[in-house]
Symmetry: D2
Subunit: 365 residues, 4 copies
């Protein structure tokens, strides 16, 4: 099944990039919650294209219409459906090249998966545009978590080898996230951010693209969330993160660096602090045995370079099965990492809310 997710909340994504619209049905939300649509819009706008030199000039207002599930401004508890109409599509860009398989894209795999009946225009259902309803849904989830004092935030850690500083656990709090979410380019170190933007603009000038790494943190999750094995917090978060187009890796806590550590280093020592259980380090990223331990849940995801590039590339023509070359025209981001931040935050919020509702029960909001 492509597009249905969740145990305690159910998410159903629909739509294609160049069809009538895209949207989401979100079932299982607590009733009586009053979303702040300014916050929803803020996250939607952070994801939206066309804002600056680092993103595609395609302009989508991403204006959403709530079809159901909201009554007198509050969630009813029954399915919330959000519809976003497509506008400013240039489908003809894609008609010309429909048999040319764009490298790095789902053109070929989508064709095989759906026996040639997929909507190929702009990637169709595979388009990164489908992350807009995901951000909508995740923004609602994020606000429900905020009422429980749980906060989700992220920043750009790495673009083409230029690195931001890591989140500093000793000073990390909601204000840091809020400040990041209002930045035009989300790094902790603005100088690093400036160099990253230069690298993106340079790649764009070469008709090329670059990728990067996002660091995400979730604060104030209580200990005891998640389950051993298949519903571990890592299993659920990773499963969701790999749903985001272009994510190709995830690591929790010290992640791949753990391969070079000794147990005496990587084991996070327990200590009582202010009468509460904590750990002195957080190499395990807030998760032990699949269950949250009360420390910040911290993970990194890698976003591959935007596959749509103007440079000439080797490809194939699918009807004749001949080798050929392709230049991908159209409007594309030279780097999608900045726009992927609110998507990552939305995805993480949905996962944590789903896990929280398993603990708390789904009946009352």
């Amino acid at each position: 099944m492509s597009s249905t997710w969740g145990n305690n909340i159910k998410l159903s994504l629909f739509g294609e990039s160049h069809g009538k619209g895209i949207g989401v049905v979100l079932d299982g939300l607590p009733s009586g919650f009053e979303p702040d649509f300014d916050l929803v819009n803020l996250q939607m706008q952070r994801r939206a294209p066309g804002k600056n030199v680092t993103s595609t000039p395609r302009k989508e207002k991403d204006a959403f219409e709530i079809i159901s599930g909201l009554f007198h401004g509050k969630t009813t508890g029954t399915p919330l459906c959000c519809l976003i109409r497509n506008e400013d599509t240039r489908s003809e860009d894609y008609e010309k090249t429909r048999h040319l398989m764009r490298p790095g894209h789902a053109d070929y795999t989508g064709h095989v998966r759906y026996n040639g009946f997929n909507d190929f225009r702009g990637g169709g259902h595979f388009s990164g545009r489908l992350t807009a309803p995901l951000v909508f849904a995740g923004s609602i989830a994020m606000q429900i978590l905020m009422k429980r004092n749980i906060f989700v935030g992220s920043h750009i850690l790495d673009i083409f080898g230029i690195t931001d500083q890591l989140f500093d656990p000793s000073s990390l709090n909601h204000e840091v996230f809020q400040s990041l979410s209002q930045k035009e380019f989300c790094t902790l170190d603005e100088a690093a951010g400036f160099r990253m933007k230069e690298a993106i603009i340079h790649a764009k000038s070469l008709k090329d693209s670059v990728g990067g790494i996002i660091e995400t943190a979730i604060l104030n999750t209580p200990a005891g969330l998640g389950d051993p094995f298949f519903d571990s917090v890592e299993s659920k978060l990773s499963s969701m993160m790999f749903s985001i187009p272009a994510v190709k890796g995830i690591e929790f806590g010290s992640g791949f660096d753990l391969a070079h550590m000794k147990g005496s280093e990587s084991n996070d020592a327990f200590r009582i602090s202010n009468g509460k259980v904590g750990t002195l380090t957080n190499h395990n990223g807030g998760i032990l045995g699949g269950i949250s331990n009360g420390m910040p849940i911290v993970f990194k995801t890698v976003i591959k370079p935007t596959p749509s590039i103007g440079k000439m590339q080797k490809s194939i023509e699918l009807t004749s099965l001949n080798d050929t070359e392709i230049e991908v025209v159209g409007r594309h981001d030279p780097c999608i990492v900045p726009r992927a931040l609110p998507v990552t935050e939305a995805a993480a919020s949905l996962v944590i809310l789903d896990i929280i509702l398993e603990k708390e029960g789904s009946l009352y909001g």
Copy 2:
């Protein structure tokens, strides 16, 4: 839910490390398949403890009894239950330290999750021992895939910074996997393997432990497997891999290195070869848009250092909420990476079989 998994096959793990036994129910298998139990035993033995200096001296024959689902040596199509009795347990080792939270373990999170009612002996249900029934189930799945010419294999890529060579896609085949599975220490480069073993023995001499990285490959998966978004091949594989205790990161294809590449490098160029569609490189690890593209599916997982170490560590006493220190006695692996190889292969096999059955239908074996 802790321990139930799958869309088209359903896996249900049960048991605790020091209880009566552990096991698995595997539902949805095709009927009429005749497992080769020598191959099952081979994988079980690769995972079993007590074989050499790099693993715990706890001896478990891991003798399994098939309770149901097999008739005249063939799968019936109804649930296959496998039971493994526990033997050679030394529960008293754990009774003494039940209120001391072992760093890096699930003692504390399990206590909170289950309100203090979890079986704490040897990690209980969180124990790595639960991977034995997972290997059993995965070995059956692996054999069903082999009949479809799909092969799953892995090797140790890195231990404490000592690295094996990567799988060479141009020469990778079933024989390489077979040869690896018969090695006592699974590296492609035996000299690297020798140095890795030295590092493990050295860590052991220090009452410490080390971690590492596993590279896994799946050969001959047809293009078109998986779904966009939540049931992407990456989502399903990662979700399963993080069910394996000690896994803290996963990356597909070039993974985190994609952050330092340009799109013109990371895009795998399509080319027709022998009338079939292929790509010249495999930076995407055989998956585009969440769907297999026919290239080998390749991923790396990081295994953290064994948390059980004899060295003195800072910890807490849970009843008094006091800081204290702990030396973890008992028999433990200084490095669990070698034993994690068949677990990774089993887990990958279960995922791919589940996805294959979505395509092929589950009725006939």
Copy 3:
């Protein structure tokens, strides 16, 4: 979770009776199927209100807009979203009586379930109006089944004790279903239908309502569909049928009459006919051990009298917790059985398609 269903296709219903609209997301459909929207409209019109004296004068064109999942007139294989805007709503009818709990309705249970935040207007998400998108989705499923020569049909068997003849298995075929679906009042025996309509009109004149029984049959299902226990054909069909508002009972084959039969009567004798396995009778309704046996799948569902009646009824006022009386004004069907036929057929079609796809695999349409 209220409104998400299915193993191999996923159905997500959304909307409220007096909100912006209602709709459905249908995920997992085979790709490349070209729906006949005349047939979809026929079923939608059979369900729509306002057609004759036996139904509510509320006029809903039930005009649907397909938002996604259709490209060049064929299913893409990715989620199909259908939106139906609400029109001709008279919400003020409900505002006046919002604290008066209508007997037989979900007003009270919905209030408790959603802590008072449910959209109470016209029953909100509980409204029978939500069966419109169900009929849309089921009509697509029904057509996919028709390509496999599987047909679903139904008729009114009983209204207020006036009975139609049962389906005659010896002559039952697609033409019978087609002829029924084109009738203004779907009975096999037109004289019985005439008397049923009289009973409905009489109930209406008394500001009262009546219920009835629907007999449904599914023809040409191959033997071997379904699973033992929890995914038995009966389990899946019944689960879906009780999703339809007002259904309070279901029986397969001879159903409750089996309580008065001997085994030698109720056992359907096997016989070879034209080289194929069949049974001489069909007391088991085409299902043995939860699995289809190749005979017609036959079941009856009982529909309770429309709870909305103009007669004075005893009720309560929820804010004051006082006893009171209520006359339900507004436009209501004195009998919903005729409009429930296409809903039952849609629901049955979705179930059978879901089971078929488990057997056949979901990849190719």
Copy 4:
């Protein structure tokens, strides 16, 4: 998938009638619950065969072994596995007739479903014997409900047309259920029970069998349980009930009698009683709009006559596809209704617990 069930608790049944054993894995139970195994045994014994003239002389102690999930007598919260070894099997009875399809049984459908690889002995996985682990699991669930003051009970309402009185809602309470569960033949009216037994014995003397109807009630469920549409209380209960072999119909409240009632009769009038909301009648069986309304949840299930009868029956020989005759030898119940009571209670308890945990959350027991 045949044998896995549940949203908040997960049930996995395994085993075959004449294999090594049968059992169940129950995942998602609250931790810290201490089962009373005398009560479990009481329910197991009520289901067990060989007790009196109305049941098969096959003797199964149904001695169960708890493999996991229990520690110091209390649930750990991790999967509870229960294993029941098979004894006293006479497999040779079945080998002789393996190609003769027993009418009314799953021999033929199981053969087709599993392509001839099913364990045919005694019905294999389709055997009513699989209800033993279901009763085990349900008895645990029933006790967890009892701690919440929710009680589940049932009685034989009808055998071959001889009827017991209905549950009297005004006097129904836990004591009535307890008294019934201790009866050797569970009717409210002992004279009716005596005549039912005579009918069963008479059927047995004719090498025939009879069926019947069970009435089940669930007391003290709070209002607000369940969900609209696909997870309605009726959907979930019916889906589970049709998992029980031989159940062919279910009706809630007045059920099929609603077809002959007017809305003014069938609508249950709301009334305040002792400050609480109740209804004067219970034609809706405690469920409105799929949600519990606080009244007793009442339903009836019909059990078909035991298909195993000694009388000569028409059948087929599957290898030659010839018509033939069959006399089913072996030990069989002339009526399984009495033994089906604890199965129905177990099944209902599992459903209600699953729904309760959705409301309450699954973390703490």
